[in-house]
């Protein structure tokens, strides 16, 4: 097969965001809605996260990752979307057509609208610049879960899990299922409340010792890992922990290669495409959704992005073109990023009427401030904590007073007289 396919909408990536967008688009647009996924099966990362916790916000259910992935695939297919697996977009040609490699051939795709839903991945050990030997037995969660669930490979017996994000506990669950004891979980964050959602399970049911404010400074062993050296960030003390498995978890980075190849503007903080609340990128007709934009939120939130972007794609296909200039949303300490990053008059509210932010410190009772031009234009105390390792959600209504011509809008936390929020 060669030549050029011409679907109405091309969705790159068949994870929760892409599949949900496809399910909503198919039947509501005139031509074909085509989802490409480079893996053997569509479904994205939930395919191999074989534990409960999926589908709460989008499907109002509570199922395992693989069951959730299957359900999303069925929904997209039954609505009439075409899903092609083992089909990888490798780049763009001079006309902006997607270039695709698949066992059926090399071909191009010219679509009226494109949704990038390529997701995010965990930074591996190399990107985190952890020195030492380069033995086997060092994984990311994605690699570990792939080995255990898709290929039934077995890791070792004693694992150190690096990271204090939700996914870190997912790694612990996978290790437990594979018969591997997690002898230590390290996190650079100062308090175990940081991962409150899993704290109970983590500390009681899983009995995992947690080393807070700790980083891994060296990997030791050949040909398989024998130990890691860790450092207490407070005292600088170092010690060696014996293990035969190390799992680097979290520290997500969007899979932004295709976006960058297309010349799409990125958000410096998320490293994903910069979009407005309609999830338009800087390239007309190209949208982005899911954890490519906010590394990372849960799968159901990514899926709801897909639902949101579908409506915006339909508006685009109907000829709706934004013309007003946008103002930039910026995150202030203790937040690393905010998504979406652009606010344009006349645009819809973001998905779920929430802005997503990534906190880097624990604030139990956060008072969110929105400032523009040196003036506070919104402030509200939110009843949920800002907790590192988890996305923090801010109601859209806090931006109601933003002036579309007033320059950058900054979202941060109120620092009271004590200099400490909450």
């Amino acid at each position: 097969m060669s030549g050029v396919l011409t679907p109405e909408v091309l969705i790159v990536g068949g994870g929760p965001a892409g599949l949900t967008a496809a399910a909503r688009l198919a039947g509501r647009v005139r031509g074909e809605v085509l989802v490409l996924d480079r893996e053997r099966q569509a479904g994205g990362i939930p395919r191999h996260s074989d534990h409960l916790g999926y589908g709460m916000r989008d499907l109002r259910t509570f199922i395992s990752g693989p069951a959730y992935a299957r359900r999303l695939v069925r929904a997209a297919e039954s609505s009439g979307a075409a899903i092609r697996t083992q089909a990888m977009v490798t780049g763009w040609d001079a006309d902006g057509n997607a270039q695709v490699t698949s066992p059926q051939g090399r071909f191009g795709i010219r679509a009226k609208a494109i949704v990038l839903a390529t997701g995010a991945r965990e930074r591996p050990r190399t990107a985190r610049l952890i020195p030492g030997d380069r033995p086997g037995g060092v994984y990311t969660t994605g690699q570990l879960q792939n080995l255990v669930h898709l290929h039934h490979g077995l890791p070792g017996h004693r694992a150190v899990v690096v990271g204090g994000e939700l996914v870190s506990w997912s790694a612990v669950l996978t290790l437990r299922e594979a018969g591997t004891q997690t002898v230590l979980l390290t996190t650079t964050y100062p308090s175990p409340e940081s991962y409150a959602a899993f704290n109970l399970g983590g500390r009681l049911a899983l009995r995992v010792p947690v080393a807070t404010r700790t980083r891994v400074v060296r990997i030791m062993g050949r040909p398989r890992v024998e130990a890691v050296e860790i450092e207490d960030l407070g005292s600088g003390d170092r010690r060696v922990v014996e293990c035969d498995t190390v799992v680097f978890t979290g520290d997500w980075i969007p899979d932004h290669e295709l976006a960058r190849q297309a010349g799409i503007e990125l958000d410096d903080a998320t490293r994903g495409p910069l979009t407005d609340t309609a999830l338009r990128t800087s390239r007309p007709g190209v949208f982005a959704a899911g954890n490519l934009l906010h590394p990372v939120d849960t799968a159901d939130v990514a899926a709801l992005d897909g639902r949101h972007v579908a409506d915006q794609v339909i508006a685009w296909l109907a000829g709706n073109r934004p013309d007003a200039p946008a103002v930039r949303l910026r995150a202030q300490e203790p937040f690393r990023w905010v998504a979406p990053g652009l606010l344009r008059p006349g645009d819809p509210a973001p998905s779920r009427r929430r802005l997503l932010l990534w906190p880097e410190a624990l604030v139990r009772v956060p008072r969110v401030t929105v400032t523009q031009g040196g003036r506070v234009i919104g402030m509200r105390r939110l009843p949920w904590p800002a907790s590192p390792g988890r996305v923090f959600r801010v109601p859209w209504s806090l931006l109601a007073a933003a002036d579309p011509a007033g320059g950058d809008v900054t979202i941060g936390l109120y620092r009271g007289r004590a200099g400490n929020a909450g």
């Binding site: 990888m88 066992p103 991945r121 030997d133 990311t140 792939n146 080995l147 290929h151």
Partner: protein
Amino acid sequence: MNTGPQPVADVAIIGAGVVGSAIARELAGFELSVTLLEARADVGDGTSKANTAILHTGFDAKPGTLESRLVRRGYRLLSDYAHQAGIPVEHTGALLVAWDVDELAALPALKAKAEANGYDHCEIVDAAEVYRQIPDLGTGALGGLTVPDESIICTWTTSLALATDARLRGADLLLGHKVRAVSREGGITTVRCDAGDVAARWVINAAGLGCDTVDRLFGYDRFHVTPRRGELLVFDKLARPLVNRIVLPVPTARGKGVLVSPTIYGNIMLGPTAEDLDDRTATGTSEAGFDFLLSKGRKLMPRLLGEEVTASYAGLRAAIDAGDYLIEADTGQQYLLVGGIRSTGLTSAMAVGEYVRDLLADAGLRLAPCAVIPPAPRMPNIGEAFPRPYQDPAKIGSDPEYGRVVCFCERVTAGEIRDACRSPIPPADLSGLRRRTRAMNGRCQGFYCAAEVGALFERGRPAHREASEQRKVLA
């Protein structure tokens, strides 16, 4: 298993790095029985694999040395051979950058040195030209020296091509043969290895980091190898537009210093460090090494540090106390040392092969060219600048496995993994597969693909294939 008397090889070569493989290939073009021994489980798996992978003009060698001569000759030989064998080479050119007045003042002497080495294409350029050539270079460059013919090459494919060619020409390759002892009797040397002994009339020591140890087995004590660790950082392919040529520092007494260079796989490399060690197995990376490289990188090219690091490596160069290659024949013992081959050995390897051939002829070894020499093997291309299977509609049309991308970051297909497993020198492990295909060498380092690639490798391995064929026969 053959338990009878082992046949005697005319020549045994110890070490299947790039140099040993080139020597084996050269000698196997004559009516000689050649055995290539390698301690490790794969060819090119020692010092050769972590080379900075530059095809050197030899512009900065010490004029008049054997190294200068062989690098110059090797550059031409390997350029031609790369073309025949499909070894990826990119003629990027290099630019030496002077960062202070002393370095700037050193440029004319470097240009004169290049000319003394027979290379007269260097030009001294001013700072404006430096920034025209490399707009993303950090501030403060005062001037530079161009070396238009410095090139980048795939070091992995080079070793593999030469060793494969040697095999096609009839040489025996014995992997997993670490030399423990030698003995000589009746004009025949027995090389003793745990995996079995090898008898040969001539023995060539191309053992790289181990060549002083092997040299002592022949009764010599003439030099000492100091492993010099070089750590490298490899940056994401998305950084590739920042650097389109090799950016070299002005050389100092401790080697060539830290460079920034495109890699043949489409990444950017920063390194190497230079750290003398005692431990010949210390190929781990270090905090100090990373800190040093990052501080250098921040000055050389600040924007580079905004990109992700894809991989880090540490390689050991076989530094010796002499200032030149040490290639000497001992006619009495019929033993030939190829020592002190530094990082330039990638470029010079084929010329070293010729030089060794001539030394052996001078020592009385009869060299009759083979009547028929098979053509050079055509190696699978793993260079980023040349077409790869995933981009080739005809190849995918003839075999859909070339359309099944399994390593997404590096776009490696199932067909290429299968081919590597069926090649004349198949990979012994996943690291060997990485060097043959690039699988898992990309930015995700296996997040997506490691399980799939591992499964394909296990299924494709010769041992597994034989077993399943036997099962078919039995069924």
